[in-house]
């Protein structure tokens, strides 16, 4: 009990000291992302919508009949996976990209991957607007279950942060990670039901298929949005595990190696 209190007070203390820095870094990431682009922040809305449109045109004849409300199904998948690939891709570069800072000023190093994931998180929140729009356009009833959406989103952010911590650590020691990750995340996209129904997966692979944490998180979000009901208790548990385990592993890997970062930058 005592130890837990310690962690909590330490977290609060760290937040008071570095919360402002975190906000500054997040707003910098966000500002520089759309710097010098004409449409600017609008891209946060347009990007998922246009991706959905393309994939809808391509895949609707293939899978449409199997999936009720295919546009919404597609868009939730795209929004979640976009966040996953953007946040992990940015977190990957967070330590090596801030090398000039890390070698000159002492700041807890987890700030860098965390700020990257959070600034993609803002993007995620903004892409909820087109999501809601599509919900209304497809006449999907908005039910109280939508209030459960934050649980799914927080799990998603936690999962991505965990992966981001691992990737940023790997990147310091092996610069090949960035190219490897491009391939792995492509594979990951096909291993996740984004544009296809999960029923096309052969039953014998289902067990492996369900090891994918993103599968559980996206499933949770879809049940909440499309069916408008609360998922079964098991789905909550799986969703939390899918988020918590990678986060703890990522934090441990990062913590163990962070003192060696400076010597390898």
């Amino acid at each position: 009990m005592k130890k837990q209190g310690n962690i909590v007070t330490r977290l609060i203390d760290a937040f008071r000291r570095y919360g402002y820095l975190l906000r500054q870094l997040v707003s910098r990431d966000f500002k520089s992302k759309y710097k010098r682009s004409v449409l600017g922040v609008l891209w946060s809305f347009l990007n998922p919508l246009l991706t959905m449109l393309v994939q809808y045109i391509v895949f609707s004849t293939l899978f449409k009949s199997d999936i009720p409300n295919y546009p919404l199904y597609l868009l939730t998948g795209i929004v979640c996976f976009n966040f996953f690939s953007e946040s992990t891709g940015m977190a990957l570069q967070s330590i090596t990209g801030n090398a000039s800072l890390i070698t000159k000023v002492y700041v807890p190093k987890y700030i860098y991957p965390l700020s990257r994931v959070l600034s993609s998180g803002i993007n995620l929140l903004m892409s909820l607007i087109p999501l809601l729009l599509v919900m209304l356009l497809t006449w999907t009833p908005v039910r109280p279950a939508i209030l459960l959406l934050p649980i799914g989103l927080i799990c998603l952010v936690g999962f991505c942060l965990g992966i981001g911590l691992i990737l940023s650590t790997m990147m310091v020691f092996f610069r090949d990670t960035q190219f490897l990750w491009g391939v792995v995340s492509l594979l990951w996209m096909y291993a996740t039901p984004i544009f296809y129904p999960e029923t096309i997966i052969p039953a014998k692979f289902m067990l492996i298929y369900k090891c994918n944490p993103l599968y559980h998180i996206i499933r949770f979000i879809r049940i909440v949005l499309i069916q408008g009901v609360s998922p079964e208790p098991k789905a909550y548990a799986l969703c939390l595990i899918a988020s918590f385990v990678p986060l703890v592993v990522g934090a441990a890997v990062f913590k163990k190696n962070q003192d060696k970062f400076v010597l390898n930058l």
Binding site: Q24, L101, T103, F174
Partner: protein, 243 residues
């Protein structure tokens, strides 16, 4: 205030920096992953009292900057320990936290946050920072359009706005034009007079003599001499002449 005990630090240098997995495996198979150990700091022990100004002198590569990095917490010593009491304001390289796409104003807050200042503090001191930097209307222009002197002036203004417990200064007094140098020197002296502990690295012995109480002379990572400023500076100058 600062107590260093048997501090040693080792850089591991590979002959060819192995930066990719493929390279690493290839080198490993060839049995070629060799490291050369380079001890940048060897068994340093010293203490700095509150309010003291400690100068650090030594040739290039003697370990001065490495020592400052260890004290400010950026590097962890391989052996030994450093205990520091109080808020450290490192001025290792001015403006290292600047983003050149953002304006001067945005950078004041970003860099201030990186140096560990709070939001209210920065808002309160903002006018003072801008005034000291003499940037005037340029404060709302992106940094990429600044001259290097302007960047340095802004950085110095942000870094010294606070009165830290410990100030670490690495060759930053040569910032800006003559007027600004005079001004920044005055600001430094002000800070030093106000009970701030200062670690001061400079190649200008004149500055060291003028500002420091005690001087630490490093050579190849080892402590060659530690003592009263004039005495160490004299010895250092003699040693330099002798080599």
């Amino acid at each position: 205030m600062i107590r260093a005990e048997h501090v040693s630090l080792c850089y591991r240098m590979t002959y060819d920096r192995v930066k990719s997995m493929k390279e690493y495996v290839v080198q490993l198979l060839k049995g070629k992953v060799r490291y050369e150990e380079f001890w940048a700091l060897k068994d340093l022990s010293f203490e700095v009292r509150k309010g003291e100004v400690l100068g650090i002198v030594g040739h290039n590569g003697a370990g001065k900057s490495t020592l400052l990095k260890v004290i400010s917490g950026i590097l962890k010593p391989a052996r030994g320990s450093v205990a520091v009491n109080g808020v450290v304001a490192p001025m290792l390289e001015l403006g290292s936290g600047f983003d050149f796409d953002l304006t001067g104003r945005e950078n004041v807050f970003l860099n201030g946050a990186i140096l560990g200042f709070s939001e209210q503090f920065l808002k309160g001191k903002y006018e003072e920072i801008v005034e000291f930097s003499e940037l005037g209307q340029f404060i709302d222009v992106p940094l990429r359009n600044y001259s290097s002197g302007m960047v340095a002036r802004l950085a110095f203004s942000v870094a010294t706005v606070v009165r830290p417990d410990i100030l670490i200064v690495d060759e930053v007094l040569s910032v800006g034009d003559a007027d600004f140098q005079e001004k920044s020197k005055k600001r430094m002296l002000e800070l030093m007079g106000g009970g701030t502990t200062v670690l001061f690295v400079s190649h200008s012995l004149e500055q060291v003599r003028a500002m420091c109480d005690r001087v630490l002379w490093l050579e190849h990572g080892e402590m060659k001499m530690l003592g009263e400023a004039q005495r160490v500076c004299d010895a250092y100058q003699l040693g330099e002449g002798g080599e």
